[in-house]
């Protein structure tokens, strides 16, 4: 057995294959990006343990994640917020974690996406389980997991082939995702989810910006819109009573210890907004929540500067509009005395 020959061949061929793979994906226009995973979330969550009353934590789903830009916020307020919003998730498990497992009594800004916040309190339901899995990951993460994350960042920043996401996008390029995209026949009955492609780019510190492609390529944006409409048609009815009761209890505890809560309804537009108005009318959900919570609140429809914003894929703001939204929101919060500008 000539093992030395074999290892030399293996090394050379592996190098060629990996380099070819990287070059191929770069030639399709992809660039290296940070994976929006539990490890990245946990790094941000760790900041809460040393956060003071002057800090702001952002919770919510993808709208709070896309629409509130860290750098712009820092420029306006003077200090970067802790971004803990998660795509496709209810903010309730994360807020519960902050209330129950920390002594934080600064400001928590909760982005309210009615379809997710009022969806469920059932632990195994997707919007809940997804957020809870991040909370659990942070609580139980091992030293290996912490070190893995640190070691993987330089690779993610420099190699396209390292891009993979927990969202399991249709266009992810890890082997499992590539195989998942193969469809043969139509064996499973019932509605089929349209391909859900990645339309945001994550960076460190944890921040999400919409890809330019989503703004420039209407066909691409429409493919995302089809996914929202699919969710709208297939999602179970909201569980307003349970979610409201759960949230209000935590709000009460948080307020009682001196915490400052802000509810923000980020923009949505087009058919999605129409669907939201029909399925989760403002009067029955948002208005009822703010009347019971008695905290600072901002609905995009109440402010002329926000009303005009159009979401390219009906649910999230373009990076340019997200900067504008963040800047205006921060100014509103300061002028209303809800938060103060840091020196």
């Amino acid at each position: 057995m000539h093992l030395k020959q074999s290892i030399i061949i293996a090394f050379c061929l592996t190098t060629i294959l990996v380099a070819g793979w990287e070059i191929y994906w770069r030639s399709t226009g992809r660039t290296p990006s940070i994976n929006d995973d539990k490890s990245l979330w946990a790094v941000e969550r760790f900041k809460v343990s040393s956060a003071t009353e002057n800090d702001v934590i952002i919770l919510g789903s993808s709208r709070a994640y896309f629409d509130i830009q860290i750098k712009t916020w820092e420029n306006e307020i003077g200090k970067a917020p802790i971004q803990l919003a998660s795509t496709g998730s209810s903010p309730l498990p994360t807020f519960h974690d902050i209330v129950e497992n920390t002594k934080f009594k600064g400001t928590v800004l909760v982005g309210v996406t009615p379809g997710l916040l009022f969806s469920t309190t059932y632990p195994e339901a997707f919007p809940w389980a997804r957020a809870q899995s991040k909370v659990d990951y942070y609580a139980n993460r091992t030293y290996t997991q912490k070190l893995n994350h640190i070691l993987s960042i330089p690779l993610q920043e420099n190699l396209v082939l390292m891009s993979g996401d927990e969202e399991e996008w249709f266009d992810d390029i890890d082997l499992k995702s590539l195989l998942r995209s193969i469809q043969i026949g139509n064996r499973i009955s019932g509605p089929k989810m349209p391909p859900f492609r990645n339309f945001g780019e994550t960076s460190i510190p944890r921040n999400m910006r919409m890809m330019q492609k989503t703004i420039q390529d209407t066909a691409f944006a429409n493919s995302i819109i089809r996914v929202w409409h699919f969710f709208g048609k297939t999602a179970p009815p909201p569980d307003k009573d349970s979610t409201m009761a759960f949230f209000l209890k935590d709000i009460e505890t948080f307020k009682n210890r001196g915490g400052n809560l802000i509810l923000v309804r980020c923009p949505s537009s087009g058919g999605l907004r129409m669907g939201e108005n029909k399925g989760l009318p403002r009067k029955d959900f948002w208005d009822e929540l703010i009347s019971k919570a008695q905290v600072a609140n901002y609905h995009f429809e109440d402010y002329p500067q926000f009303k005009k914003l159009i979401c390219p894929e009906e649910s999230h703001l373009s990076s340019k509009d997200a900067d504008y939204f963040t800047k205006e929101l921060a100014r509103l919060l300061i002028s209303d005395g809800i938060i103060s500008k840091q020196p």
Binding site: A10, L13, T144, N148, I184
Partner: protein, 472 residues
């Protein structure tokens, strides 16, 4: 620390640099290996290293006393002390909730009380079943005077803690491992490269086959609360069958490869088990180090085949039931063991009353029957409850005609191809070894296969999924 993680790659490189550096003598190199093993374990949960220390100290002391003590009662005392400490750890950390839950159920049923046991939710130390069984084998062998006492505490501590096989085996006997620590070990260049090749194969089995190709289908089927179509139930079951093999055999292959990089030889833990001709053959091929442990320290002390047929069947069944319980604190695991015990008894009855010759023509058919029966047992092993296991069994045998289809056609084709290839590979490899096969193929072909496996591991990325057997 997981083998399929970036942290482990860095860890292994540092360990190898220190191990092969000229700055340290053999004793210091062993100290480095011991420290590295504690770091390897502590990176998961540092306080639980204390359990390893207690186990090591108790069994070192027990072994020392057993080596010098002649008084039989005192010898028994030291053996029992070792057993109580090791099995006590297992009982407390692994079986506490299960035992308490069953105890309250029995009491409530018998006396009509309404007790509720409060689960303690104690963290299960990773690999506790492996290292306690390994260290117990030392004291039992010492008691039976089958092995020499470890020469130094360092050798013994390293035997208990040796990081490549610490958390998921192979469970190595003292005489096979401690003696290797007595003289300086250096891997030859052939051993080193072969070790790297085995590490690659192990990672390929785990990252590409188990996690990428099979786990999704198996998780979807066993995670479903629906009444499933028969095809879906079978595909989910064979996907798990492949997943658990590639996951566990992958770990063992990595462990053997990593040890070989250090010049240490570990025994094989799997020998193409899915081509077994019957169940006795299966247990000589699947998790060999556990089945031989159970045979030597449970089945034979229970009487083995020395006291007649009935006693032998009882011993066999008790061994398999406890073997099932070793895997997990749940009745589903006990049923899994019970099914294997039943298969073994039925096989012995068949040999006694309906013997037939196995030829090359009926062999593959027999192997397929064995594999199919093993798949049925995996349903109980994998299912979260008896209800879901029974629902799966009913679906598999088409007793549920209104079952729902949850798998797409590509998943069915993918799993069928992977499992068919696995079965055929096991069949054609059953009387040979990887090393023998690689001797026959050209170095170029081996290099190309190696490169393809490495490339697939890299593009699979993997999210450092934990090995299934770590929880046992």
């Amino acid at each position: 620390m997981l083998f399929n993680s970036l942290t482990f790659i860095v860890f292994l490189v540092i360990v190898l640099i220190l191990y092969y550096s000229k700055w340290f003598n053999w004793t210091n190199k062993k100290r480095i290996l011991l420290l590295a093993s504690y770091i390897f374990y502590g990176f998961w949960n540092p306080p639980l290293v204390i359990l390893l220390w207690i186990s090591t100290l108790v069994d070192w002391t027990a072994g020392k006393q057993l080596a010098i003590e002649e008084n039989q009662r005192r010898r028994k005392f030291w053996l029992i002390t070792s057993m109580v400490v090791n099995l006590g750890f297992l009982a407390f950390f692994k079986y506490r909730d299960f035992l308490l839950d069953n105890f309250t159920t029995v009491i409530n049923t018998a006396y009509g009380y309404g007790y509720h046991s409060e689960p303690m939710d104690i963290i299960l130390p990773m690999g506790i079943s492996f290292y306690t069984f390994q260290t117990m084998s030392y004291t039992i062998d010492m008691y039976q005077r089958k092995t020499e006492r470890a020469k130094t505490f360092l050798d013994f501590a390293l035997y208990v803690t040796f990081f490549p096989q610490l958390v998921a085996g192979p469970i190595v006997r003292a005489k096979d491992l401690i003696t290797q620590f007595y003289k300086e070990k250096r891997a030859t260049s052939k051993q080193f490269i072969w070790g790297l090749f085995l590490l690659t194969i192990g990672l390929f089995e785990k990252v590409v086959i188990a996690d990428t190709l099979l786990s999704g289908t198996s998780d979807m089927v066993f995670g479903s609360n629906k009444l499933l179509h028969g095809l879906d139930a079978w595909i989910g079951t064979i996907a798990f069958s492949g997943q658990i093999f590639f996951d566990f055999a992958g770990y063992s292959t990595c462990a053997i490869g990593i040890a070989l990089l250090l010049g240490i030889v570990l025994p094989d833990n799997f020998k193409y088990p899915y081509a077994s001709l019957g169940f006795s053959d299966l247990w000589k091929r699947w998790h060999i180090s556990l089945s031989s442990w159970l045979k030597d320290y449970l089945y034979i002390p229970l009487g083995g085949n020395r006291h007649g047929i009935v006693r032998m069947y009882v011993a066999l069944m008790i061994t398999m039931l406890l073997g099932g319980l070793w895997h997990g604190a749940a009745w589903t695991f006990i049923v899994w063991g019970g099914l294997h015990g039943t298969y073994l008894i039925l096989e012995r009855l068949q040999r006694q009353y309906f013997p037939f010759k196995i030829t090359r023509w009926n062999g593959i058919f027999l192997a397929f029957i064995t594999f199919s029966c093993v798949n049925i047992t995996w349903v109980f092993f994998r299912a979260r409850s008896f209800e879901s296991a029974w629902s799966m069994i009913k679906s598999m045998f088409y007793l549920q005609t209104d079952g729902e289809k949850i798998l797409d056609m590509f998943s069915i084709i993918k799993v069928s191809i992977v499992i068919s290839i696995m079965f055929l590979c096991h069949w054609f490899m059953r009387n040979t070894s990887l090393k023998e096969v690689s001797l026959k193929i050209s170095p170029y072909a081996l290099g190309i296969i190696w490169a393809l496996m490495t490339f697939l591991i890299i593009i699979a990325q993997g999210n450092s999924e934990q090995f299934i057997y770590f929880q046992f």
